[in-house]
């Protein structure tokens, strides 16, 4: 194995102790809050720490405490949608805020191809982090099993598909009210008097995709199957689906797209085909991503979910579970999954 770094040696507890004329134990106490140390001594130690620029070695500390003050965020998005889609970005931001206020570090793990599962599995098992936030599971994703196997405390982003299939009393997730949101969107289109309402779905191997389609069907149980086209949450997929729908049902007068990105692509394709929005075709999206929905032409009517808040919530749930683990007590009120609310934001497209 390759030699590690050999830079200027950083000062150790030992060095501080010597300079301050106390024992290592005392220094350790001061560094960790200083309870039970006489004020005068504490001050002397603090000076020594300052003078030497001492910073605790985290590896040594973790070795004994078994804490890392770090949390992994795992995003399993083989198509690398991660960074083109503001959705993740916003969630990450919420998570980042919450974690940093708890002095915990965010460690981002991206799973791009199947080989990466190995690496991520090793990482989680390696005890680098105290817990994990896992996102955007697809069908048969090996991640949940991995996390469980190594006893990793986990909160999922979005409802995993197999909830209930196993003994998942322990499973915690945060999700938007996808189905309710879709219902809201489609009901709005109905209330506008639209008769041939199509939908561009998300990927149907993810619960968010399926749930939004279910919401559409709740309102239109006897709809024409030709009015349903599968997308994948991206602009490319959305554009393709819109073109398909137009080919199948040139007379459609409304579209509910399961993401703003897809809706924006739909607007474009509709324009290319000479349709006016909303006069000829009304369009509703899902997400209300500022950077997309407010900037389309016309601005998008869409279902708003507070994505950043979901991220914050996930982090908070995880931290709470972690805290409970530490204090062996029987869980007073074990955190449970949360479904966050949505609302319709009406702009010009429908």
């Amino acid at each position: 194995m390759q030699q590690g770094r050999t830079g200027p040696l950083r000062p150790t507890l030992e060095a501080v102790a010597e300079l301050a004329g106390v024992s290592r134990a005392t220094v350790s106490r001061v560094v960790n809050g200083g309870v039970g140390v006489r004020a005068s001594l504490r001050e002397r130690v603090q000076h020594a720490v300052e003078e030497l620029g001492y910073v605790p070695n985290q590896a040594a500390r973790t070795l004994v405490t078994r804490r890392n003050d770090a949390v992994a965020v795992v995003i399993a998005e083989p198509e690398s949608r991660v960074f083109s889609d503001p959705f993740f970005a916003q969630q990450l931001r919420g998570i980042s805020k919450e974690l940093s206020s708890a002095d915990s570090q965010l460690v981002l793990l991206l799973v791009e191809d199947t080989g990466d599962y190995q690496r991520v599995g090793r990482y989680l098992a390696g005890g680098h982090v105290d817990g994990a936030l896992i996102f955007s599971l697809h069908q048969d994703d090996p991640l949940p099993a991995m996390a469980r196997k190594v006893g990793m405390v986990t909160v999922f982003g979005g409802r995993p598909g197999w909830v209930g299939a196993e003994s998942d009393h322990d499973l915690v997730y945060v999700d938007t009210d996808n189905r309710g949101g879709a219902r809201l969107a489609v009901e709005h289109l109905v209330s506008l008097g639209r008769k041939r309402i199509a939908t561009i779905t998300g990927p149907l191997d993810q619960t968010s995709g399926v749930d939004r389609l279910d919401g559409y069907r709740d309102v239109l149980p006897y709809g024409d199957p030709a009015l349903v086209a599968e997308g994948d949450f991206t602009q490319e997929g959305g554009g393709r689906a819109m073109a398909e729908l137009l080919a199948r049902r040139p007379d459609l007068d409304a579209v509910f797209a399961a993401s703003d990105l897809m809706a924006s692509a739909a607007l474009r394709v509709l324009r290319e085909h000479g349709r006016r929005v909303p006069e000829d075709v009304a369009v509703v999206g899902f997400d209300d991503q500022e950077s997309v929905a407010a900037w389309t032409d016309p601005p998008l009517t869409t279902v708003r979910q507070d994505i950043e808040d979901m991220g914050r919530l996930m982090a908070r749930l995880l931290l709470r579970r972690l805290a409970q683990e530490g204090s062996e007590v029987a869980r007073p009120g074990s955190p449970t999954s949360v479904i966050t609310p949505v609302r319709l934001v009406v702009r010009a497209s429908a």
Copy 2:
């Protein structure tokens, strides 16, 4: 200090050694590549590892090797532009790819407000990571000094403003040819016969903003100052600047915006003010971010930089420096800063 996690104890080297009937040293050898171990023994150990589901404890390993196989990515963007701007996203993706192929972990550190500098400083000093990739420095950013103080091997994203000001022979960065790119853009507008070419600049406390403005001035050294408005790379800022320019010089016939995001906002504002693009006003952006430039109406003519590749390059430089540090030899060819090339992508807006 709070007790750490107390889950089921993970198997240790010791346990594997016992099960395989060998010493800890042998197991360690096998786990780390297995050189110098008889094949039969190696196999026995591997079985034991498998059976117990053994995974090395990283903290213990780091404690002795002083390696983390992890790299910090520090993004200092108080305005939280990080995640609304695909720019960072793409760089991260490049970095992530490169690091994971070197089996190194990406640890993302976001600096949102000034208090975070402390936390990040502690993190870097704490020896969590082998090196750091630092982004989007503003004027007087304390990060470079912090990194240097703790002897952190660092590669910067974008040229730090104070290059040359100190003894920075050691400083390595990756940057786009901002100035050359801006020149390309403005020359294109000139070649189109435009006479009153305005520019929306980036934030002028960042070198990328300043350099792009310099490029504009290279081509138009005697331009009217009223044709220059300061933006901040965001849509909001770009829109504001465009409105300002229109108010000052209603007769302008071209705009070079220093980012695609700002250019897209400019298109919108121009449309609102009844200008046709490109007939009345030609617009050129900078970045060529697929998700923005190709989707505007009309599609944006812009300066293309390969952002993902820059990320990859940064990671590669860092890894190389890290490797050199390990093998104490005098640096054979110390990696130096890199300026990546740009080219003009002509679409419909100019």
